[in-house]
Amino acid sequence: MRFGRPLALIISLGLVLLLSNATDAAVSESKFSSNYPAVVCPSTPGGLTTAISLPSTKSEIRLAGTKSLSLIPSQTLRYMQKKSPIVFESKGVTPVLWQIRKGVWAGASICSSSQSEQWFVGGAADVTSKGRLILVNSGLSAASVDIELWNEIGLQPTKAISIKANSYLEIGVDSLAPGSQSLVIKTITRAGRVTSYMVDERGRGLRALGGDIINFTPNASKEVFIPAIAHTVRKVGSRTVELPHSLRVLVPGEIDARITVSVFSTDGSFIPAGLEGKIVKSGSVATLDLNPNLPSSKFGIRITSDEPIVASVFSPTISEGKSDFIWSTAANELKPSIFSVAGLAPQLLFIGERVKVELELFFNGGKRKTISVDAEDIAAIKIPDGVRTVSVVKADKGIYGAGLIATKSGYGYFPLSAGSTLTKSSVPKANIRVLTP
């Protein structure tokens, strides 16, 4: 047969290849384990009251700084924290914390898992300052944290702090950089499982000037989105006067940054005068006026820069006739996540070129409601009372969100950034090759 041999050749090769490729299945057998790390809510400094919104009454918590390491059910949706920070088995839900000095000021924050770096853009260490930096070591080994600090002059000497296992520290901000009016603090966890928080509280003598919790930003970046800035007015006689905002910016690198601030509001997007191509000196904290002159009560901003920056917006507020302030900080890009907002009824704001978000509200009674948001530049949604959790089910790219809470005690702000993200780690396997370069 003339073609017998070539045919046999091709068939045998083909068969072996087919069989081999069918057998070749065991190669990629890497296994991964995924979990949500526990989140930590900060301690409650003296005189303050803290309520933590939890997704379920069965949510498991434990108190940091106590001997007991066992997790117990919270038995409530609003956990009234006494003193010690709590460690919460998040399972993907980010609790929102509401802290007030009753009748004086209020602030909100997300509870977060341990972080290697946290930027706190806000606060002061002058004579008015009563602020605190709270470092919680939820781990069972001693931790060490470096605190880097910038003020209007520049970078201050780094402070190294060690924290005992399963404990926390509250450090007065005024002790870190006495006299500083504009602060940016960066905490770097060198060892241990540490989550940091910052409370900015001010008063002059017995007169309270307000306070807020400054939410953290995980890193400096060239594009910063601050989605929700409370824009309040003050009545001066018969007319209303918009309260001014100030933008605090730090360029931590060595090269000056050229920044442009864009405002997203229901009245459209625009760049306020003087904030296009503005040069910000590196190494020291800069404060820029931000007076967009808007009729609307809320807006968001985007800051673009040619160098990595961190930024936040300081907004004075008037609530029940009392002065307060709020720090609106940068938010991460919106990702599917769940926020526990029981008892807070926040107003959520989303900014982006095109805001397209799908939310699911989970009510106390077990009812669920899906909300689809589709808007340009900015969208605001008021979460009704009785909502236990808000789930971001779907979000397009380039959308950022934050929540604003207004109560009698004051305003609070929290970014819609997941405090606990799914961590995927490969299941380790024994392999002696680790012992060779």
Binding site: R5, P6, L9, S12, L13, V16, L17, L19, S20, N21, T23, D24, A26, V27, S28, E29, S30, S33, N35, P37, L69, S114, S116, S138, G139, L140, S141, A142, A143, A165, N166, T189, R190, A191, G192, R193, T423, S425, S426, V427, P428, K429, A430, N431, I432, R433, V434, L435, T436, P437
Partner: protein, 1013 residues
Amino acid sequence: MSSHRVTAILVLHDGQLWLPEVVASLTSQSLPVDSILAVDTGSTDSSAKLVKGARIPVLPMDRDTGFGEAVAHAVATLPISNDPQSEWLWIIHDDLSVDRLALENLINEVSSRPNVAMAGPKLLGWHDRTHLLEIGISIAANGNRWTGLEPAEYDQGQRDGVHEVLAVSTAGALIRRDVFEQLGGFDPNLDLFRDDVDFGWRLYSAGYAAISVSSAVAFHAEASANERRSVDVAEAFLHRPLLLDRRNAAYVLLVNSSWWRLPLLTVQLLAGSIFRSIAYLFAKLPGYAGDEILAVGALFLHPAELIRARKIRKIQRLVPSGIALKFIPSRWSQLRLSASRSAEWVREQLLPSEITEVQNPSLLDANLDEEDLLTPANNRNWTALFKRPLIAASLFLFVVTIFWSRFRIGSISGGALPEQPSGVSALWNTYFSGWHSIAMGTSAAAPTWIAMLAIAATPFFGSVNFFITALFFFAPVLLALSAHQFLKEFSNNRWLTTTGAVLYALSPVAISTINAGRLSTLIILLLLPLLVKATRGWFEIEDFSWRRIFSLSLLVSILFAFSPLVFILGIALTGFSIYRDYMDSNRGINVALFNARLYRRIALTFTPILICAPWSLELIINPNRFLMDSGFLLQGGGPNVALLGNPGGPGSLPWYLISPLTLVLAISLFSSTRARFIAEIGFVSLLISIFFSAISLKGNGTNIATQLYPGTLMVITTMTAIAAAIAVSDKLRERLKQTHVNIRHISAAIMLIATATYALSSTLWVVTTAGSAPLQSGREVVLPAFLAVEKDAKTMVIRQRTVGDEASLNFYLARGRDAALGDPDLAPPNRDQITNAVVELADGSGLTASTTFALNGIKYLFLKNPTDENLVRIIDGLGGFTRASSTNAGIVWKISVNTGKVLFTSLAGKSSVLQVSESEFEVTVPEPGTLTLTENYAQGWRAMQEGQRLKRNRSVDNLPIFEVTQPGSVTFLYDGSLRRALVSLQTIIFITVIVLALPAGRRRREIEDSELA
């Protein structure tokens, strides 16, 4: 007219074969001998009759009379001399023929040298009269007879002249009679052999000298030494000349040397005897081996004889005996001679003398000039060397290697090759040890290739690093040389075979092997061509001698030790061959033929299993390991890449640099020449390679299923493809020229283009990507130095490894060092308890991980950089781990729970760590309780207290625990007796096979006269 008077003393002992010429030469001297006297020591042949027939008086003596005694007897019958200083004795053996001018020249030289009392001629061979036997003699410190000559040295007058020497042979020695009598003649204790050296030594001690005179020539048959006649002297126990020679050599040294040299001499003689007897055993000459030992033994058993002889010498001595030391060759001279002989032998084996082209110009050649006949026919200069294909190819490959391996100068590691210990002693330790401290420890048998590597590295100053580096560096050249040995069987066109050899050295499997440090495959690449060449005629194996079978077994053993897959292939080939033999032998009717083949095949296939036992027996228990090579389990490229003749994996050529191997095999399958058969083998091998590449296995210290590397199979594919290509291409040009353009022309063109493209692209690739090859020198170590300070401390190492695009977290337990050569092959499977602790550590749930680590004696946790921040946070947060350091290398945590090598639990349940003493594996137990050794459980673990063995149990964690009933010190040891016994058995088998494989030595009586001289 000479004033000297010469009496020739002819000693007879069964010498009728030589005597006619001997007598004729004596009687025809240009300076006539004054008198001739013969002494017959009981010859059983017609020696005495022959001599008497020549009118020479014969003194009869007993058959067991020694040579010296016979001469002394003859001298005693001589009349008293009036002028003793002018009377000379000329000692003539019955197998010595003297040249006509011998005596005259000897007398001439001694006449002008009054201190000379002994002179001897230049001794040439009896049969080959150009063979220089002796021109003066001495004795080496090890007792060897020292002539200072090359073996079978051709006499061209290069040693001519009159030289002062320690002694001359008694054959033809001219000795002054008065000195002979003064010294008491030859030592009666030396019946035969070495009496000459002894006499010379005594001569010098008495203030005289000896000379050799080259103008005096004699031809010696050396009948006794060459076992041409029996040695019947009284001292010749068992009539063995070698025994007598060695005994006498030792005697001469011991009685003549200064007393302070005796201890060293004794050691030298004993050691020399042992070494020589071992060598004789290897040469399958047990009789000679026995002679060596008996000779020295017999002498040391009679010390009184030595003492008496030394006393006599002391009396006769005028000058210290050290005067003769200048004639005793230095050890350097002996070494130099041995080295020169060895080098010559190696050169002869590697580069056998080629018959140079003989130009035979015809006388009819019109251009022939008469002067042409005067110029040497061979006028090649050294540049012609570079035109020889193999040398040119080797040079080319060497240049390529310089660029290719430029990052592999120095200690190399990476890929499949772990770090190597610096010296062979470490390899031997690993090999002989019954317990290996790898991870939690193992009693697995060390692979045989470790011992082979140790043997191979020994000539490289015992440096394993040096050997491995040199092996990988010169691998391309060595591969080409090895392949050429195989390929030259397929064509006489050396340019063609050399090109094939170069392609072999640059084949995908060779590149992958060298770049990835695959030692096993490299050995296969080097030795398989030689094995295939050596097994030529495999199907007619009955023609193979048993010696050849065992030689081949040794070669197969090496291949098997490095790549156990060879055994599987061998079994398959043997099975097929036995079936073929059965058919060949008329279905078993020709039993003799069938059995002859069967026994040889079985011996060849199973001897390697025996040589490599006990390691090979462990393979049988765990057959997966037959498929794995030595070293780290490094993945191959999978079946699709294998189809292209490329084994793939780290360091291998990218798939798009397609080698022509598959194409060549495909084309050759349609050949009508023998290339087709070769290609069929190659094709089957390729198909198996493809399938083999798809298999994933765990082992060699990893529980990650890893795609197998088809190195061994791909070597076969490569060899056969190149051989087929050569067989097809041989004389192809002539064949193609004779035909019109057809499919053959097209196939040849395609093959040529594909080969040229591949050769060029692969060469460029290896040269340009040398820096990214896994095998490199000067790599940093994994474990920080401070973790290696505490000897044998256990450190759990966790690091991220990326294989392809996939990053995974891997871990292993280190024992104070990185993985070393042999460790992957011995690495025990990881214990589930520890694995679970690490897994829980990684996912953050491992609250008890540190306790588990402590229980197993793990002191440190090391997270190698680049670290996973999340994992760092988890470990920091889990508790039980205290940060010890954070450096560029990574982060180290100390396990908070106190732990160590030996844990003690009191009867009350209180646990503590016991301090192990630095010198010995010993602890002090404070009270009765239980001792836990943090090593894997094995039968060999022992704990001894006051000479008593403590009761051993296995804990639930698979650790050995010992019950202690009283306080005191407890010593731990691993009893490796079984391992030692098995290794001893293996050594015996190995030596036996070597002895069987070596060529048998010949007794001197079996050697042809023409070969001797």
